[in-house]
């Protein structure tokens, strides 16, 4: 659906050149929710703005549905943009237009007749749950409601792609959740491909299928969200994961332990198996859970436990080997020999 090849975006002013996007290539499948995460200045906005050519790439290709946008003339580009919706952190609604008029504008831009516009706007208001706010001005709406108008406007011309630049960053947690749910519904109902930029791993966990981690204009890690959560490779990625799966034990707690502290991670189906109880049945060790959590990422469980094992050294070693074999993921945090 979306194919980006060797995309470079350099901002040049008289004084200096700033690299926004540094040679990024990626492919996003139809119907996928693709997340891009990174700290401020990583180049996320630069990248997403190149996807509808709000920012003109310095070099590289941006193909949407097989068409390289960089080769289009102004008029063809406008047509193409009607099929690429975009929503923004600060909503960017026209303040002099009512909710209805804001959505109608997108349809008018696509040359629809007033009759078609009326039917479609009402449909969209229904979809985003704002039918009763039709004649209000943006100033009279809450942040969440404004973003819903933004979404309705972005979806007006039945786009194939929806670009979201920090669409929930200005919203409180519960509003964020409701907007994410709306995006999920749209993705499922309409088969819409969504590209979503964020700096919150919570958002990624909630909604994305695949994820790219950006740093200094480059994608440094990419993969299925679950895999990245289970197996982050880059330090930055680990940082982001830690923001959701915090497992810092107090140092004092670790020091006062007599046994071996291990960290086990259960992925997918394994998380539901009774590995731990099997362990205690088969080996003469005692276990003491210090910390534990099961996260559901895209409805697949990811369990992490920190345990203290006590018993004969030999037995503990065998127990550790057993868990390693069952889970393929074990880390010995502290071993008191």
């Amino acid at each position: 659906m979306i194919e980006v090849n060797s995309l470079v975006k350099i901002y040049s002013s008289k004084a200096k050149e700033v690299i926004g996007v540094n040679d990024v290539s990626l492919q996003i499948k139809e119907g996928e929710i693709y997340g891009i995460i990174g700290y401020s200045g990583a180049g996320k906005s630069s990248l997403i703005r190149c996807l509808n050519l709000l920012e003109k790439p310095t070099s590289g290709e941006v193909k949407i549905d097989g068409v390289d946008l960089t080769t289009l003339n102004e008029k063809a580009l406008r047509k193409a943009r009607q099929k690429i919706g975009m929503i923004f952190q600060h909503f960017y609604l026209a303040s002099a237009k009512t909710v209805y008029e804001n959505i109608a504008f997108a349809l008018k831009a696509a040359g629809k007749t007033p009759k078609e516009i009326d039917v479609r706007v009402k449909e969209l208001l229904e979809l985003v749950g704002l039918s009763d706010k039709s004649s209000q001005y943006p100033a009279q709406l809450s942040g969440g409601q404004k973003q819903r108008v933004g979404i309705a406007r972005a979806l007006a011309n039945n786009p194939k792609v929806l670009l979201c630049d920090e669409a929930t960053s200005a919203l409180d947690p519960s509003t964020t959740k409701s907007i994410l749910n709306l995006l999920k519904t749209i993705n499922r109902k309409l088969g819409l491909t969504i590209v979503l930029i964020t700096h919150e791993m919570e958002v990624v966990k909630e909604i994305c299928h695949r994820l790219a981690v950006m740093q200094d204009g480059k994608i440094i890690e990419e993969g299925l969200v679950y895999d990245i959560f289970a197996n982050p490779i880059q330090p930055l990625t680990k940082d982001f994961i830690a923001s959701v799966l915090q497992f810092e034990l107090p140092q004092q707690l670790i020091e006062n332990r007599k046994g071996t502290i291990i960290k086990i991670q259960f992925k997918g189906a394994i998380a539901e198996e009774s590995v731990v109880s099997d362990l205690f049945q088969q080996f003469n060790v005692k276990g003491n859970i210090l910390h534990g959590k099961i996260e559901y990422i895209q409805d697949v469980p990811l369990g992490i436990f920190i345990m203290e094992l006590t018993g004969e050294d030999k037995e503990v070693e065998r127990a550790i080997a057993y868990i390693e074999e069952r889970t393929q993921n074990l880390e010995v945090v502290e071993h008191v020999a």
């Binding site: 709000l54 009607q82 923004f88 026209a94």
Partner: protein, 221 residues
């Protein structure tokens, strides 16, 4: 005695006020018809906007600055040949409205440009992202979004024009200024002098209050 002289003055005053309104109205219409598009042009051809064009932007900007840098009283005299050509005469309110228009157009254009600058760039960008044409963005986004500022600009332009129109009175342009010069200055008639001042003050107040009110009504922010 005061009342008597006022009464005698009334028909003259009436004509003068109407002449002033006429001159200012002609100049205002010119400002809206030519100055508004000029202000929009200055804005949309600027760096980073959807119709950026260095040449057009600089030439327009230079022209606007040129006219604006000439004091009105000098413009008035300098434009006499043009006035003769357009109005067929160099005296009277119609003649005065030529130079008033020339002064009002760039003045208003800059005010329009300034109020367009206050629109959040993101709002314009969101219109670009939706695939709207430049004309649609101008007509449906820029002008409506800047409306409160444009109305205020119109108020300021009107008030400045009233001041300029009084200057036009010096060379026989008609209107309240003309009246004040002829009677108040040449004949030392204080009654007329004070009356014209009061009329001008009231006129300006009404326009300011009315303008503010309209600007508030169209402001949905």
């Amino acid at each position: 005695m005061l009342l008597e002289s006022l009464q005698a003055l009334l028909p003259e005053l009436n004509t003068a006020v109407l002449q002033t309104i006429y001159m200012v109205a002609v100049a205002l219409v010119s400002a809206i018809i030519i100055g508004l598009p000029l202000g929009v042009l200055l804005f949309v051809t600027d760096e980073g906007l959807f119709l950026r064009n260095k040449v057009v932007n600089h030439v327009t900007g230079w022209l606007v600055n040129l006219v604006r840098s000439i004091p009105y009283i000098i413009l008035l005299v300098a434009l006499l040949p043009l006035t003769k050509l357009i109005a067929g005469s160099t005296i009277g309110p119609t003649a005065a409205s030529v130079s008033l228009s020339v002064a009002a157009i760039p003045f208003f254009a800059r005010l329009v440009e300034t109020s367009l600058r206050e629109i959040d760039k993101g709002v314009i960008e969101s219109a670009v992202a939706v695939g709207a044409s430049p004309w649609m963005i101008i007509k449906d986004i820029l002008v409506p979004e800047a409306k409160p500022g444009i109305v205020q600009g119109l108020t300021i332009t009107t008030i400045s024009l009233i001041g300029y129109s009084a200057m036009a009175g010096i060379i026989g342009g008609g209107g309240i200024g003309d009246l004040a010069i002829r009677f108040g200055y040449y004949r030392y008639d204080n009654t007329i002098m004070i009356t014209t001042v009061i009329v001008l003050v009231v006129l300006v107040q009404i326009i300011q209050i009315g303008g503010d009110k309209i600007s508030r009504v169209v402001d949905k922010r």
